[in-house]
């Protein structure tokens, strides 16, 4: 208690110096929080782009379909999967899909394409397929007057085959029973633009695709959205417990390349933020050293009346920590509204970022406890570390010499 009182007295003794040191820490903390929020926010943004656009937060497949897709590696017991997914409280929506490569024919052109069979009702609850319709109308499961089923094709495919809405498209592929799948479909809509991941895709209603590929009622994939992207691993583990015969992959595994790139990018950014803190604390170190030097006499007296070296170190550490805590709390109060604004409104990007046919105009930050606490912990730990060397210096003071100092 005595140490605490002495610590407070010392901070208040040099008000101007303490204020300036405190402000530099406050500034450092605010900068840290702001950069951190923006960084996490933009990662979150990118993750949202592909998880909400297509992959979903978690996917369920048979065996190693994700790495080595084969048409017969399909989910057969759909009832179990669907009841498991609808019973899980964190799963918001899910949708089944089938895939197969196919050769597409326009009137006189050919192009390789990818058939994606989706449930027309549940797909829009997981992906942005409906929003990506750039021409025509979202397809229906019913055949047209001539008995042809509807398909939606990617922008790239439409361009290379030179076909548009209401034209016919012929698909040839390999059926699951070894037969050659071949059929005519009518184009109901064009999807996305030329940068979309599915620019060469042909979307078919699920039942139509299953019949085309002779798959019966089987599907290749379940994609789902959960309450928050950060819970993907935990929920995936829980679901895996219910579905022992299937492979449950969070988006971190589905988009493994992106995830690894993101992690290494994050490390680089952490280094940069470490550097900010380092520069701030060089100034802080200077302050602490100075206050130790000018109090040499005082420490000498303390030592002479029986203060132990360890309690001197503690005293100096405490002084710095108190100052750092006050600065950080002040910084938090000042920066919180700004981070909130960043997460809700964000910067207007001069040129909209186009992600697979969906435009993003605002660069947004993240507003979460983590964004405030991580820099705070970092600042406090650094404050303690940095006050140890001056503390040791103070502890080594010999009373005899110190008494003679000015």
């Amino acid at each position: 208690m005595l140490t605490l009182r002495i610590a407070f007295r010392n901070i208040l003794r040099q008000k101007r110096r303490s204020l300036l040191t405190g402000l530099s820490m406050t500034g450092g903390y605010m900068l840290f929080v702001f950069a951190y929020s923006l960084l996490e926010g933009s990662y979150g943004n990118i993750i949202d782009i592909f998880t909400l656009d297509n992959t979903g937060h978690i996917q369920v497949h048979k065996e190693d379909y994700l790495d080595k897709p084969k048409i017969y590696k399909s989910v057969q017991d759909r009832a179990t999967v669907e009841s498991t997914l609808s019973d899980h409280p964190k799963v918001k929506s899910f949708t089944p899909r089938v895939f197969s490569p196919a050769l597409a024919y326009g009137t006189d052109k050919t192009a390789p394409s990818r058939v994606i069979g989706v449930d027309t009702e549940t797909e829009p609850t997981v992906s942005r397929l409906r929003e990506k319709v750039s021409e025509g109308n979202y397809f229906s499961t019913a055949p047209d007057a001539d008995g042809y089923y509807e398909a939606m094709i990617g922008h790239g495919l439409a361009t290379s085959l030179k076909i548009g809405v209401a034209d016919e498209i012929v698909l040839i592929s390999q059926g699951a029973d070894g037969s050659i799948a071949n059929d005519i479909f009518v184009v109901a809509a064009i999807i996305g633009n030329r940068t979309s991941f599915d620019r060469m895709a042909v979307y078919l209603p699920l039942a139509t695709a299953q019949e085309f590929l002779a798959m019966g009622g089987d599907v290749h994939e379940y994609a789902m959205l959960i309450d928050h992207r950060d819970n993907s691993r935990r929920v995936a583990d829980e679901l895996a417990g219910f579905l022992p015969d299937l492979t449950v992959s969070p988006w971190e595994e589905v988009q493994a390349t992106f995830y690894r790139t993101m992690q290494s990018d994050r490390q680089g950014n952490n280094f940069m933020m470490g550097l900010i803190v380092f520069i701030v604390f060089i100034g802080v170190l200077n302050t602490v050293l100075m206050s130790v030097l000018e109090r040499t006499r005082e420490f000498g007296v303390l030592r002479a009346i029986g203060a132990r070296p360890a309690s001197l170190i503690r005293l100096i550490t405490l002084e710095t920590s108190i100052l750092a805590t006050i600065s950080v709390l002040l910084g938090m109060v000042l920066i919180a509204p700004m981070v909130y604004w960043l997460s809700q409104v964000g910067f207007l990007v001069p040129e909209p970022i186009d992600m697979g046919g969906i435009e993003f105009q605002h660069m947004k930050g993240e507003f979460s406890l983590q964004v405030f606490l991580t820099p705070m912990m970092f600042m406090l730990v650094t404050a303690i570390l940095i006050s140890i060397p001056p503390g040791i210096r103070a502890a080594r003071i010999l009373p005899k010499e110190a008494m003679g100092a000015h």
Binding site: Y72, Y105, V170, I172, Q174, G175, A176, D177, G178, S179, I180, N182, D183, I184, A214
Partner: protein, 245 residues
Amino acid sequence: MKRFILLLCLYLPFTTTASEEARARSIIDEMEQLYRGDSSDATITMEVETPQYQRTLKMTGQSLGKELAFFRILSPKKDRGVATLKRDEEMWNYFPKINKVIKVPPSMMMGSWMGSDFTNDDLVKETQLIDAYHLSMTEDKAMYRVTLTPKEQTVTVWGKIDYVISKDPLLPVSQSFYDEDGEKIRELTFLEPREYEGKLMPSILEMTPLNKEGHKTRIIYDAITFNVPGITKQTFSMRNLKSRF
């Protein structure tokens, strides 16, 4: 005289191999002829077995000489009417549902024919063993064993084919296909000889790829007639390929 004997000694081995190759050639020619006649009209059942599915196709097949062949699937209903035309070294598939003739590109020649373990290449090239391969033969009491090695100019994926033929009756028994490293890749066996119009021939051809576990294709000849007057060059025209039936 001495010189003559020397010459003879040098020459003799060649004459024997030459005549042996000619014998092997005639035996294999006879085997090839067995299923073909001048022209043939067959009803075939094809059973494809894989770890994932079983499939049975019924089809008709016509041939004229070595160069022309035509297949049309009768069942299952989904594939009814799908047809394959082979002319010389070219192949086309016809799909009635989309009314399209698609030429099988050279890159797809080693691809599966109608989802079976037979390749498109088997249909096109099977009848040209004699021209494309060097033949050497050994025989024992019951069997001829002909080894076919590709000629330099032959384009093939096989390093060697072992063809076993029984002597009495003179019928094919098996063909083993090896890759260039000498590893056996697949085996075609000829089973259950049956008489068709007085002609004895194996009624089942069974293809087993050794590099794909659980895969097997059986071709069963339900009926076959030879030298059919109705089969002419017109049978193997694009127009006939595209005709609805």
